[in-house]
Symmetry: C2
Subunit: 100 residues, 2 copies
Amino acid sequence: MARSLKEEIVRRIFRNFLDVMILRFVHKEPMWGYRIIKLAELEYGVKIGHGTVYPLLNDLEKRGLLRSRKESKKGRLRKIYKITSKGLELLDTFNESIGE
Amino acid sequence: MARSLKEEIVRRIFRNFLDVMILRFVHKEPMWGYRIIKLAELEYGVKIGHGTVYPLLNDLEKRGLLRSRKESKKGRLRKIYKITSKGLELLDTFNESIGE
DNA sequence: TACAATATGTCACAGATGTGACATATCTCA
DNA sequence: TGAGATATGTCACATCTGTGACATATTGTA
């Protein structure tokens, strides 16, 4: 069965601007990789491989767009990311540039 | 010298959503490939290879998003593209999906 | 006359990029 | 006790995609 135009476009946005979409998620509220993957599927119907997300999160932190703190919830390790001012700047520039 | 953040993002948008950017150009006013290339450089500072643009224009027409008519200006052939309702639908869906 | 600009077209190749597999560890529920 | 969910990490490989070269034709200008 054919995918709808809307689904197709949302997929493309996630594929090509996954960093921006992650910054948007984390901007709304600090969160960790696993949750981003689940939310992307729940809210947008987009499946993102964790092999794509985790290296990207590390890269975004290295570039200073995100900052993480480790949280250990009953022995289970989570890296909770917050957006930085540099990350906000990228988001703003993107939104401004993509505006119709 | 380092490229600015804005320039970097605009480049990425053109690289990944060249079809959408072309639809936006053509939506503003019907035009041909050569003009699109020149306008992208003038208005956005983005150089797009004509080897990217022409095959894409043909593809967009094949998919029914654009329609062209040939115009011969003093023996010089131009394919002038207009956006179709299907093209407008894609533009609208994209703008809606990318909205913050 | 010869070069630059206008105008479109094709295609091989290199470089970029996501996918999916392999890897590890804990918790919960049946 | 075993499976599924939570949680993160790495990396080889195949696939996708733009670049740049090759190709052609006309007009304007020096």
